[in-house]
């Protein structure tokens, strides 16, 4: 019998809405939700069913049967697995206190359950991957606007000009946003793209700045200078909502377009022409404040500069600008019940909130647990539960991380796949794939807010469980039954929807519940109260940063040039992979089985490297070397080499991607401590690597 079910994709964390048809527990068709995406789906989305059929994933709970990382596993039943974890957690709790347990997740709309689990257990230590992703952007927005990165959505469709600094959106693929951008371009809009190399996104641009790596901040400062000089800003908006504008004017005086052009390696005239265009297009100009800006030592300040550019445009709550996301309350509707157990009143183990007061306490900063593991100050860290989060893949120097994690008595990995961390952990709990599990109802805030729901499409192929059931079972064994007062997903959904006028039946028609048919906008003249800073205004001079002894307007410092024979390592992503999650997927692996090293043609010539040659890429201390093919290209800066993140995996049960390509994070030796004191994120592009033509390039053949 053919069934048609609306759900939410899970191949990456964009979570596009989908519709799936099945017959006899097999997927026969999968597409983007027609009501929201007009059917559009990406390669990853279509490769979901191939993941389910893939036997190179954990089939049942596995307990380590050898040294950590040895890859020897004993299959066990779910009750045995739950008991194993619960017993260890109880022992750790009684010996070291509940706060010695950390839970990390990938974040997202369902994290309330994981967070509540660890809070209910008695630990404040919930964290996520964001210190290697959007933390700088998030903190920069908080310091200026008083709201985080998700405090704005971008009305790209109605914009006239979109400016992207390294935001390679056509490879990161948020389909709804991509469609908006292409619609904008079809309507004659402009796209300015800034990067150290040409990307798919840059191909679609109307203006391209290829900059020297690490100089984004300089270019943004030059733009601010010129926009202020030309008075191409919204002075009404600034008078009404912004403090510190005069100081900004004074600060940027030195950063002329001529200076920026020289620093970045672009043409001064191009910056000036760009500002001409901005003058024409404002306020419908969006400077995307970045996403994964955990890159350079001044990425936090670069992100602040991008936010400042938006502020100059006066584009907040304007059509074609930055829109404040609306929730159920803005539509006169009631919100849903959510599991939210408050954080215990104990100092966080990563120092956020007491040692580092200017950071968002929500998920803290994952990498700052490592020094605590070493020092045991303020207390020891003895267990780490990783919910679909792979510290070894997202943070630098996994070998160093292993040394830290080895101080823990319990390492748990809950994941659909084998992760590099999971491979080193003590126990792997296989979660069902996104097509085989239900998740809680989530609120999707935006100009037209919705309730969304992931619904099970298939019965699980493996002996795997949905995350709600895993946490519920662990909670029951740890005396936390009352925190999760439901026994089935239907009960959970019903409880979630209790305060609203809706029932689960209302999801059936379109897969979501629309809370407003019209775009909900605030009056742009009445935005007081929207900026949650100490002064209630947008603070160009941040009181919070000032208290932490950090400058709000930081002097620009030119990035180091790599020594001879070395290059700055820049990473990114491809449209066909979600980092390390998909490189072993049969259909996506077929499309892109390994990564390559992008290198500038002139730089390659000097090293005797031609396109397609094998090259050895080594970390600065040469403790890690990988060999990949060189992709010799014109349009990458000669100081940089680039690779797609997620490769170079060493999990023997993932045969397709085993040792395929090279891992950027393994090249980041000793870079775990190189993080941004102002923004909190790790500086993932402050890394130099050595590149040599490999001796493995065959000269002749001597074997029969």
């Amino acid at each position: 019998m053919t069934k048609s079910v609306y759900s939410i994709c899970g191949m990456c964390t964009v979570r596009c809405p989908i519709r799936v048809e099945t017959e006899n527990n097999k997927v026969t068709w999968i597409e983007g939700n027609q009501h929201l995406l007009g059917g559009a789906l990406c390669a990853k989305g279509s490769a979901g069913p191939a993941m389910i059929a893939d036997k190179e994933r954990p089939q049942q709970p596995l307990i380590r049967d050898g040294a950590r990382g040895s890859g020897r596993w004993k299959p066990v039943s779910w009750p045995t697995a739950y008991d194993y974890i619960a017993d260890k957690l109880k022992n750790i709790k009684s010996e070291y206190g509940p706060e010695s347990v950390v839970l990390s997740s990938r974040g997202g709309p369902w994290q309330g359950m994981y967070k509540s689990f660890i809070h209910g257990f008695g630990s404040p230590n919930y964290t996520n991957h964001d210190s290697t992703c959007g933390r700088n952007t998030h903190h920069s927005s908080l310091s200026l606007n008083g709201v985080g990165r998700k405090g704005f959505v971008y009305d790209i469709k109605n914009a006239k000009h979109l400016v992207l600094f390294g935001r390679n959106m056509f490879s990161s693929l948020r389909i709804a946003e991509n469609l908006q951008t292409l619609d904008m371009l079809d309507n004659g809009g402009k796209l300015t793209y800034v990067d150290v190399r040409q990307t798919i996104t840059g191909l679609k641009s109307t203006r391209f700045f290829q900059v020297r790596p690490g100089t984004d901040y300089a270019l943004a400062l030059g733009m601010i200078h010129e926009i202020i000089r030309r008075e191409a800003y919204d002075s009404d908006f600034i008078d009404r909502y912004v403090t510190g504008f005069d100081e900004l004017c004074y600060f940027v005086e030195q950063y002329t377009p001529a200076w920026a052009a020289k620093e970045c390696g672009v043409r001064e005239k191009a910056i000036k022409n760009f500002v001409d265009e901005v003058l024409e297009d404002m306020p419908k100009v969006i400077f995307h404040p970045g996403w994964n800006l955990s890159r350079y030592k001044d990425s936090f300040y670069a992100a602040r500069a991008l936010h400042i550019l938006n502020i100059l445009m006066g584009n907040i709550e304007q059509k074609g600008g930055l829109i404040i996301p609306k929730g159920p309350g803005d539509c006169g509707k009631k919100g849903i019940n959510a599991i939210d157990i408050p954080k215990p009143d104990i100092k966080r183990g990563d120092g956020v909130g007491w040692k580092y007061k200017h950071f968002d306490k929500g998920p803290g900063l994952g990498h700052l647990f490592f020094p605590t593991m070493e020092s045991e100050d303020p207390y020891p860290i003895k267990a780490w539960i990783s919910m679909r989060n792979d510290p070894f893949s997202c943070m630098p120097d996994p070998k160093r991380q292993e040394q830290y994690f080895d101080k823990c008595d319990l390492l748990v990995s809950i994941d659909v796949h084998y992760s590099e961390f999971g491979w080193f952990s003590d126990i792997i709990l296989p979660e069902c794939t996104y097509l085989e599990r239900d998740n809680g109802i989530c609120v999707q805030k935006g100009p037209k807010p919705r309730f969304g729901r992931r619904q099970k499409v298939l019965e699980p192929e493996n002996d795997s469980k949905p995350s709600w059931e895993i946490f519920k079972n662990l909670a029951d064994r740890l005396g936390m039954e009352d925190y999760f007062p439901f026994n089935s997903i239907e009960e959970y959904w019903k409880w979630q929807l209790e305060p609203t006028d809706y029932s689960v039946k209302d999801f059936e028609e379109k897969g979501f519940i629309s809370l407003s048919d019209e775009v909900v906008m605030y009056d742009p003249e009445k935005l007081d109260g929207q900026f949650n800073t100490p002064s209630g205004k947008i603070e160009i001079l941040s009181q919070k940063l000032d208290k932490a002894g950090l400058p709000s307007l930081k002097e620009y410092v030119s990035p180091l040039r790599p020594p001879k024979g070395m290059f700055r390592l820049v990473y990114g992503r491809s449209a066909v992979h979600t980092h390390g999650h998909t490189v072993n997927n049969p259909l996506l692996n077929e499309l892109m089985p390994k990564n390559s090293l992008w290198i500038n043609v002139k730089a390659a010539n000097k090293l005797g490297i031609t396109h397609g040659d094998l090259v050895d890429v080594s970390s600065e201390d040469e403790s890690y070397t990988g060999t990949v093919e060189a992709n010799v290209v014109d349009y990458i800066h000669s100081e940089a080499v680039y690779m797609v993140h997620g490769f170079g995996r060493e999990i023997s049960r993932q045969t397709r991607c085993l040792h395929a390509g090279i891992s950027d994070q393994k090249l980041m030796v000793n870079k775990l401590d190189d993080w941004d004191q102002a923004g909190g994120a790790i500086n993932l592009c402050e890394v130099f690597v050595i590149v040599r033509r490999s001796v493995r390039n065959p000269k002749r053949r001597v074997e029969l």
């Binding site: 292409l182 040409q198 391209f208 049969p586 499309l591």
Partner: protein, 151 residues
């Protein structure tokens, strides 16, 4: 005259290769055969922005296909509306069709040991739908076009 064509709007194509996987997923194809492909040319600067052209290729559904007459079991069939398809019941996997095709379009499905090629998802077309690659194109860059002779 052929009735249908798949057209790629290069301005919207982002070379994400989604169409290739949409096709494989719909046809339930294993690793190996690939019935459509996105390719791109070498980047050249246009108004100081490096640009490239994306192209989409599947079967050309020739007006007079070489693959059809050479098939020893008459499994390769050209329909009235121009769609050239392989009758999987009749195909013996000899791959004579691939040899006859100037672009070696037909490929062997290693699981069924039979030839496969693009048939514009004719089961979908006959049901009033569009081919998988077009329906699910990430950026709505692919269009399924009904051709009309301009007089």
């Amino acid at each position: 005259m052929n009735k249908y064509m798949i057209y790629l709007n290069g301005k919207r194509c982002i070379g994400c290769h989604g169409c290739e996987v949409h096709c494989k997923a719909n046809k339930n194809l294993p690793v190996g055969p690939q019935l459509c492909e996105i390719d791109h040319s070498v980047m050249v600067k246009v108004k100081s922005v490096p640009k490239t052209e994306f192209t989409f290729r599947s079967c050309y559904h020739c007006e007079e296909p070489f693959c059809a007459p050479i098939c020893p079991t008459n499994a390769m069939i050209k329909r009235e509306d121009g769609i050239v398809y392989i009758d999987q019941e009749k195909c013996i996997g000899c791959m004579a069709c691939a040899g006859a095709c100037p672009w070696t379009i037909p490929q062997l499905n290693p699981e069924t040991k039979k030839a496969v090629k693009c048939d514009y998802c004719m089961d979908r077309v006959d049901a009033g739908l569009r081919p998988a690659c077009v329906t699910k194109c990430t950026t709505h860059a692919l269009k399924f076009v009904i051709m009309q002779e301009v007089v």
